[in-house]
Amino acid sequence: MSRKQMPGVIGVFTAADLDDAFPAGLPMVWPITEDIKIPTHWPLTKDVIRFAGDAVAVVVAGSRAQAEDAAEEVAVRATELPVVLDLEEAAKDQVVLHEDLGTNVVVHWSHGGGGDQAIFESAPVVVQERHLQPRLIPNAIEGRGCLAYGIPAAGEFTLVSSTQIPHITRVGLSITTGIPQTKLRIIAPDVGGGFGSKLNIYAEEALALALARQLGRPVKWIEDRQENYLATTHGRGVIHDCTLAGTEDGKILGLKFVELADMGAYFQLLTPGIPELGGWVYMGPYDVDAYWYEFTGIMTNATPTDAYRGAGRPEATYVIERLVDAFARRIGKDPAQVRRMNLHPPHVDAQTSIMGLNVDSANYEPTFDRALELAEYDQMRKEQAARRESGDVRQIGIGLSSYIEMCGLAPSEILGALRYVAGGWDAAEIECRPFGKVVVRTGTSPHGQGHDTSWSQIVADGLGITPDDVEVLHGDTAVSRLGMDTYGSRSAAVGGEALRQAVEKVKEKARIIAAHELEVSEDDLEWADGAFRVRGAPDKARTIPDLATSAWQAHSLPQGVEPVLEGTAVYDPPNFTWPAGTHVCVVEVDTETGKTDVLRYVAVDDCGVVINPMIVEGQVQGGVAQGIAEALYEEAVYDGSGNLMTSSMTQYLIPSAMEIPDMILDRTETPSTTNALGVKGIAEAGTIASPPAVINAVVDAVSHLGVTEMGKPASPERVWRAIQEATKGSPGVSGGLDGATPAQQEGGAS
């Protein structure tokens, strides 16, 4: 049926039909090495379908139903090509995704190491393990979507998009579509979840803009869940070869990791940089003498990977913490004891770490001790011993995870050194309206983080007003001109600090006006109880709303002072921030079925100064839930032909509230030295800390049966197989299913 005959169809377009629409492909902004090989990534593929999700045509119709009906009729004539999904197979280049690049091995980055590398061979104890971390699907419940419209005659276009990064998208899509930045407005309305999956610039956004321009009418695109699973970025997908060097009494001397990272079929915005983001935390919170990290990025016939909550740091923390447990088992020591004796000593000021960057502040022991106390660690160990003693079918395991993060992205100078295209600053504008209300324009782009609340608190605290009087505007490039958006636990540490500095600027100007009105010198004023007051005569005072009104009226301003009370700050952080913490997970494993239940989960985090405790708790709860999901449930699986088998929420297992336990949360507070607020960041801590805590607990529950290896996710079958493998040929060991259970019962009775 021709396109004209299908009801409601406006047009069907392939890459050839849109040849003039895109002066450049989709942007990748982090060419992390000089010799990185970068494939061109067109919004519609021009030659080869490289992954399920690589679009070949777009249908525009009057309704979604009409478009789906027509899309079904689009016949694609294609020759089937071999695919490669396994990382090590792909590295052999027998199937090459991008002919022009000549290889799938597109990037290799080495941290360069620190300390004495010989230790990894000469240490008294050397633990070596390989760990696989499967691909994950980020699963914002609210999928992506966009609406492009414009005034073609004026060349002006607006893209309303479900994005975390309106400001960066304006720059990127301007390059891809050729629409000048001055004519392109990006609006990120209520975005819903992101988790890194909307920290990107996608083909559909570019297509919507190009089609709105070509057709002269608004074009809307909303993804469904299957499209989300196929074409929205995936996370993780890495293999680590890990080495821990240590001593018999439990001192960790060095940590070394060599990683293979699945890039997918193309680079998305930050793809090659994601492993590197983890590349600075492979020492964990431990005081080690030697450090090594390198990774190789490999193309495969699968959805491109990119940032997923934690971005590189969960991958790192997982392998470190698995390795520390393996080390403790090897030397026969309690994993808590081993961790505690290796924690980096506290420091109030920034201190250079073994990996070469400055950690802003640290005080890990109190956090660690509090986590063990809340978990009733000793009591749990006793319970575990009792169950082991009685040969209970349901065994208890206790897992720990101590972590350090690198947040507050990022000092622009370091980003430059790391070859990132943009800076890491952020901006805030405060406009004090007459008669009491204050408008804030922030460069951060919240999508569930509660910036409206926290930013109102910062401004209200600073200006002596109530949060209700503060209106926070964000997520629109025409409203908040300057910004670098929201990702990487950066918003409070960078955008929040920018806002605090803008508050100071407002107060500087307000003080001049107050002194003028109160007829005293500025030095005679002090800020007390929410107003500038004359020292010794506190009743003589001016509040910010008073001064905002007089600055707006401008009837009598001091000489040289411009009307209107406002302040703008653009802040470039001098350092990253380094949150840390310890999580403890207690699980019960049914040794006959392999099923794991989380009995208790304790998270003690140190994210520096807290602006809003409820928001911090919410971040930890959500993050831990996602991490438990990663540990026990989620895994993106492809078949041999490159079809995504886990293509709906029926097969891709996102746990519900029924599977996620109540959590016991607490905090310690070690202020950051990077910013004056003292904040470090909390949005990714839960997903960074929890997967190894859970898996360590699962292994711990069955380690007495001989289980030491355990993949992610620890599905019932995987756990059952591990028990089977470990107990093979050992009759009477709890856990055997096939006829072993009655035998064991008889054995127990004899």
Binding site: R64, M645, P655, S656, M658, L737, P742
Partner: protein, 272 residues
């Protein structure tokens, strides 16, 4: 995620539904819609017409009927789970209905839909099979009762004719001992494997969920229990005659092991 085009007709009575079904061989009955509509949204199911029987009020009931309990085909899972008659006289059915999906599913999905869909992973079919339930079907020429043992013919296929409507499910009273074991990854999931064990109709019957193309009876287990075997030895035969699927939720091998554990536990619970 939008179904292919289809016609829709709402039936005011069973007779009208039968006549509508007779008018279009590709028509499908819509009850709660919780299996059919997702399949249509994925365009796996493409019926030309939906015959909506959801508003036929007199097909929703649970009542004692002699030595049986009669359940109207349109009774929602939530109402089955909360029916006092079932809780007292055939508790395994009420309990199993309460384990289906999540509260939303239980408030929309119906027992008749669950049976007529013939999904081997459904919770209720294997319970009804273990109970030797009777399924009352009404067609153009009248009404017949099909025994559960002959009802489930293959994957998503049943003994219902295209123009027949399932109207009632009849179960025996069974209070002597029972167990329902559903092993699932998430609370709202289908069973990876499910086991129902119940003392009914003068014997101990065991139904298996998701162990083959249809809901199954664990014949070997029933035989062993009948011969006096203890739960553990009887359970060792739990996978006899099964053909479990191999999918993301578990390999066939794993399911064969799992069913033995669950049957043993179910027998221990049902036959104290």
């Amino acid at each position: 995620m939008i179904p292919a085009p289809f016609d829709y007709a709402r039936a005011g009575s069973v007779e009208e539904a039968i006549s509508l079904l007779g008018s279009d061989p590709d028509a499908k009955v819509l009850a709660g819609g919780h299996s059919l509509l997702p399949a249509m949204r994925l365009r796996i199911a493409r019926p030309s017409m939906l015959v909506d029987i959801g508003r036929i009020a007199d097909l929703s009931y649970v009542r004692e009927d002699g030595d049986r309990i009669a359940i109207g085909a349109l009774t929602r899972h939530h109402d089955v789970a909360n029916a006092e008659v079932l809780q007292q006289l055939c508790p395994i059915v009420a309990h199993a209905a309460g384990q289906i999906g999540d509260p939303q599913v239980r408030h929309m999905g119906t027992i008749g839909g669950s049976v007529a869909h013939g999904d081997p992973a459904g919770d209720l079919p294997s319970v009804l099979l273990a109970l030797d339930a009777g399924f009352v079907a009404q067609g153009p020429t009248g009404t017949r009762t099909v025994a559960a043992t002959g009802f489930f013919t293959s994957l998503f296929e049943t003994a219902l004719a295209p123009d027949e409507v399932l109207t009632e499910i009849r179960v025996p009273k069974a209070t002597a001992g029972w167990s329902f074991m559903k092993f699932q990854r998430r609370a709202q999931d289908w069973a990876v494997v499910g086991v129902s064990a119940v003392r009914a109709n003068g014997g101990v019957h065991v139904g298996l969920t998701n162990m083959g193309l249809t809901p199954l009876r664990a014949v070997g287990v029933e035989e062993a229990v009948g011969g006096g075997a203890d739960p553990a030895s009887a359970a060792a035969r739990a996978d006899e005659g099964t053909a479990p699927p191999d999918d993301a939720f578990g390999s066939a091998e794993y399911r064969r092991q799992l069913v033995k554990v669950l049957v043993r536990r179910a027998l221990e619970e049902a036959l104290p």
